[in-house]
């Protein structure tokens, strides 16, 4: 197998905050990205995503560890010799240059001359659907158009690596959705390897081949979106990706591929996962859409909160000592339970997932 397009090897970055205390922004991160792959770095604000991306681009020097791009160690290489293209959160278009010159900048630096220069800029602008706006200056463009100029400027040099730092966060919801689709199309069309930073799990889910979930500088889990959702490695991942009921319990019987778990006042049979922890304590991840409310049923509960969302209804339901989130689909057909109403509850323990409770999995 050939070298990965990007290898991040045991990277650590420690900043000194103004008081002089050490801030570990990136903590021993290792990650390999295959050629043509679209990887998303997902995590809460301040978890080190931008720092990691900036180390790859060469704007920060790591405290320890290596960055290898296409088999070449680049850890000490200055940013202008790395051949990575970055799309900045603020776009960072050159305000004194027009659209054409913004896109042409990287080509001019590389000494691309007249006929081929114009052709390549035109091609890049066509790719992002901005043909005809060559002579506009950046401040005469809408947010979405600016974002596309930034993208065209990044891809026109056919970089080894495309780095994107929350490029859609300044756009409104509609445009964001539209740009997600375009971004993915362009990345596929060009076959560029991309690393995409976001704190928006929906964005990561819809875009990425694989998602890297980070928390406090550390990698929590690396997995394709579906696996991340179905089988989160840690309570943090479970809570960060999608909505969740995280129920604490104790394994009472471990029987092959099924475990019996004692939850507050309930017994549940869930799919087993690895060895039973010594103290038997585990977290059971139950997604709200697998909790169903009916008129009647053996397990009784009381609706404590009802939130109407149009296509769905979100409930909070009390079952014994447990408080669970549930989702009712298609309220037009199924109706809505009122707050205080007594209902029957079924919990999808058969598709639940067990996570260890002691920190990192």
């Amino acid at each position: 197998m050939s070298a990965p397009a990007l290898l991040i090897d045991r990277l650590t970055k420690v900043f000194a905050d103004p008081a002089g205390a050490a801030v570990v922004a990136v903590d021993d991160v290792t990650l390999a990205v295959a050629a043509g792959e679209f990887v998303s770095l997902l995590g809460p604000s301040g978890c080190g995503k931008t720092t990691l991306l900036r180390i790859v681009a060469g704007f920060e020097t790591p405290t320890a560890g290596e960055v290898v791009i296409a088999g070449e160690r680049v850890t000490e290489l200055p940013p202008n010799r790395r051949d990575t293209a970055m799309v900045f959160q603020s776009y960072a278009l050159f305000p004194h240059l027009d659209v054409f010159e913004n896109v042409a900048f990287g080509l001019r630096v590389r000494g691309v001359a007249a006929p081929s220069l114009g052709a390549r800029v035109a091609e890049a602008l066509a790719l992002v659907g901005l043909t005809g706006l060559e002579r506009r200056s950046p401040d005469q463009l809408s947010g979405g158009q600016q974002q596309r100029v930034a993208l065209a400027r990044a891809v026109v040099t056919r970089p080894r690596l495309l780095l994107l730092d929350e490029p859609l966060s300044n756009l409104d919801a509609k445009l964001r959705e539209q740009m997600r689709v375009e971004l993915r199309r362009i990345q596929r069309e060009l076959g560029i390897t991309a690393v995409y930073v976001t704190h928006d799990q929906v964005e990561a889910m819809t875009l990425a081949d694989r998602i890297v979930v980070m928390n406090r500088g550390r990698v929590q889990q690396v997995a394709p979106p579906a696996e991340l959702y179905a089988r989160p490695a840690t309570p943090f991942v479970a809570e960060f990706v999608g909505k969740v009921n995280l129920l604490e319990g104790r394994v009472t019987v471990a029987d092959g591929d099924r475990w019996r778990v004692a939850l507050a006042g309930l017994e549940a049979v869930v799919p087993a996962r690895g060895p039973v922890p010594p103290d038997g304590r585990v977290g059971v991840v139950v997604r709200p859409e697998t909790v169903h409310l009916r008129r009647d049923g053996p397990l009784r509960g009381v609706v404590r909160r009802t939130t109407y969302l149009g296509s769905q209804v979100e409930y909070e339901v009390e079952v014994g000592d447990l408080r669970l989130q549930a989702i009712g689909q298609s309220p037009l057909e199924e109706g809505i339970f009122a707050e205080g109403e007594r209902v029957g509850v079924t919990i999808g323990f058969d598709v639940a997932h067990v996570v260890p409770l002691d920190g990192v999995g």
């Binding site: 045991r10 650590t12 420690v14 050490a22 570990v24 903590d27 021993d28 681009a57 060469g58 704007f59 020097t61 790591p62 405290t63 320890a64 560890g65 850890t75 000490e76 290489l77 200055p78 940013p79 202008n80 010799r81 790395r82 051949d83 990575t84 293209a85 970055m86 900045f88 959160q89 603020s90 960072a92 278009l93 050159f94 305000p95 004194h96 240059l97 027009d98 010159e101 900048f105 990287g106 001019r108 630096v109 590389r110 000494g111 007249a114 200056s137 400027r153 040099t157 406090r216 500088g217 550390r218």
Partner: protein, 566 residues
């Protein structure tokens, strides 16, 4: 979270700034070269002044200071200098604030004209007011002897000097305070009104507290400038009202007593440095706010009509005084013999353009050489300081700004002491004047460069690097165009000061290289007021033309350049 050491067999490699610098040698080379230049042209002359003042007769001693401070006359000079400095600063700040407030916060008419009239004294030689005052109130002045018929009125001394300095430096305070007031969102005042505060309360509780750091720095800047002022005291203080900068000059040029002159200039230096350090502490704490797209709208309701009327009257009065001053200079330049025969004549102008032709050429050559060097150096230093990490960054910033606090007298004496022997034998050359102007006025460029750069998203320059541009190319193609407003003001400032400076330059001129300002002083000294006024008019015309030319050049030079790139 605890930092993890790398796993065994894979030792964590520490990386310092040095390794990164090795990869980007242009930054290190530029920083190093600039640091060496700053040491030679700023620190070394200063060291020489201090050393010479402490080694009278070749031995280390404080005798030069003791001797000077024993003299009653010098004691008076110290007190006078500080007194005039504090009073000039106080009056200038009050007037400057009223002027700025009127122009920024009320809707009075003629704001553009009033602004231009306030700028005029800033682009003139710092002693033009003195000449105007002499023409108006001196012996044979049109007001004192002409209108009022006074025979023994004496404008020389404290009151004349204070008036001249206020006329010279109140515009400086105005410019600083205008920036301060423009930086305070007027919707804050509207919000306070909306919350029920009266107009006086709004002023006292909202505007004044927000403007206080700016007011303090304006005070300190004017105090420093007043202490350093040489032209006005030389012309107006008179021998009964000694001033330190003039006394230092006289010790050197009159008595050839270098240790005494050096000691006096160090006495001048101490309060300047103190004021500068306070200024830095105030300015350093101020946050830079990025200007957002939406300008604050305000109905300017925070000032009552009556107050507005009073402010307008005050402002118009001050502007009228400026008009009067410049009108009398123009009249002086065009009069046959001032005070004796006031019929119009072009003799004085003709004299200046023929006899003074060479001086004008010298002055222009020096200014035109110093201006671009100073402007570019300012932008490079600002770029390095704001955008790059390298060892000694703080020292670089501090030394480059230090010159701002040094009175011109100190610099001038320092230069003759530092550059009068090999290998740095520069006295009598053009280079010593150019170097003096470049390094003396670069702090203004640096400061405005730093202020503008801090408002520009660093990602824009990172984007250029990310696209493959080196540090040098990024600076040339991205940073410089972006800091154009700062670059413009740095160039204008450098040119204006090179044309109008006197306090340091008076020590450095020679038979080969003379300056118009020095010539003006000597014309006044020999009583040729018409010639002095004519020189001043010519100088002013050159400065105004040059500002227009720099504006045009920059506008043309930085439109998006197509095709030609590297």
């Amino acid at each position: 979270m605890i930092a993890h050491g790398a796993a065994p067999g894979h030792p964590a490699r520490p990386r310092g700034a040095w390794r990164r610098l090795a990869a980007d040698p242009a930054v290190l080379a530029a920083a190093l070269a600039i640091q060496v230049l700053l040491l030679v042209f700023i620190v070394w002359p200063l060291v020489r002044v201090v050393v010479v003042s402490l080694t009278p007769g070749g031995l280390w001693s404080t005798a030069a200071y003791a001797e000077q401070l024993r003299s009653w006359y010098i004691q008076r000079a110290v007190v006078n200098s500080l007194l005039v400095g504090v009073l000039t600063a106080g009056v200038s700040v009050v007037l400057g604030f009223a002027y700025a407030y009127t122009l920024v916060r009320t809707a009075v008419p003629l704001r553009r004209l009033l602004h231009l009239l306030a700028i005029l004294p800033i682009v003139s030689p710092p002693f033009v007011s003195s000449i105007a005052i002499i023409l108006l109130f001196g012996r044979g002045g049109i007001i004192t002897s002409g209108v009022l018929g006074l025979q023994d009125f004496n404008i020389y001394g404290f009151k004349g000097l204070l008036l001249a300095q206020v006329m010279t430096f109140a515009p400086v305070a105005y410019l600083i305070l205008r920036g301060v007031l423009e930086g305070i969102d007027p919707t804050l005042e509207d919000a306070a009104l909306n919350l029920g505060a009266g107009r006086l309360t709004v002023f006292r509780r909202v505007l004044l507290p927000l403007a206080t750091p700016g007011i303090a720095s304006a005070f300190l800047v004017v105090f420093i400038e007043s202490l350093a002022d040489f032209g006005n005291p030389l012309l107006l203080a008179g021998s009964a009202f000694p001033i330190l900068s003039v006394q230092a000059y006289l010790q050197i040029t009159g008595m050839f007593n270098l240790p005494a002159g050096a000691a006096l200039s160090v006495l001048l230096l101490a309060p300047s440095i103190a004021a500068f350090l306070i200024y830095r502490a105030i300015v350093g704490r101020r946050r830079y706010v990025t200007i957002t797209g939406k300008p604050g709208r305000s109905s300017l309701k925070a000032t009552s009509p009556l107050t507005t009327g009073l402010l307008f009257a005050t402002t118009a009065l001050m502007a009228g005084l400026v008009v009067l001053f410049y009108a009398v200079i123009a009249a002086g330049a065009l009069a046959r013999t001032w005070g004796v025969d006031n019929r119009p004549s072009l003799d004085a102008l003709r004299y200046v353009l023929s006899v003074g032709g060479e001086t004008i050429r010298d002055t222009l050559t020096i200014a035109v050489t110093a201006t671009p060097v100073s402007g570019l150096l300012g932008m490079v230093v600002a770029f390095l300081v704001v955008r790059r990490r390298f060892p000694g960054r703080g020292v670089l910033e501090m030394t480059s700004l230090l010159n701002f606090a040094l009175p011109g007298t100190v610099v001038g004496i320092g230069y003759i002491l530092a550059f009068n022997q090999r290998p740095l034998l520069l006295t009598g050359t053009m280079l010593i004047l150019v170097a003096c102007f470049v390094f003396r006025y670069v702090p203004v460029g640096i400061q405005s460069g730093i202020a503008v750069l801090r408002q520009i998203d660093p990602a824009i320059e990172e984007a250029a690097q990310n696209l493959g541009a080196s540090s040098a190319l990024t600076f040339r193609r991205v940073t410089l165009p972006l800091v154009r407003p700062a670059f413009f003001s740095a160039l204008v400032f450098a040119f204006v000061r090179a044309m109008t400076a006197i306090s340091a330059a008076v020590f450095l001129v020679s038979a080969n290289w003379n300056l118009m300002t020095v010539q003006i002083l000597s014309e006044v000294g020999s009583g040729r007021y018409n010639a002095a006024a004519a020189y001043s008019m010519v100088l002013l015309a050159i400065v105004v033309a040059a500002i227009a030319a720099i504006g045009l050049l920059l506008r043309r030079g930085y439109s998006p350049v197509q095709g030609r790139f590297l």
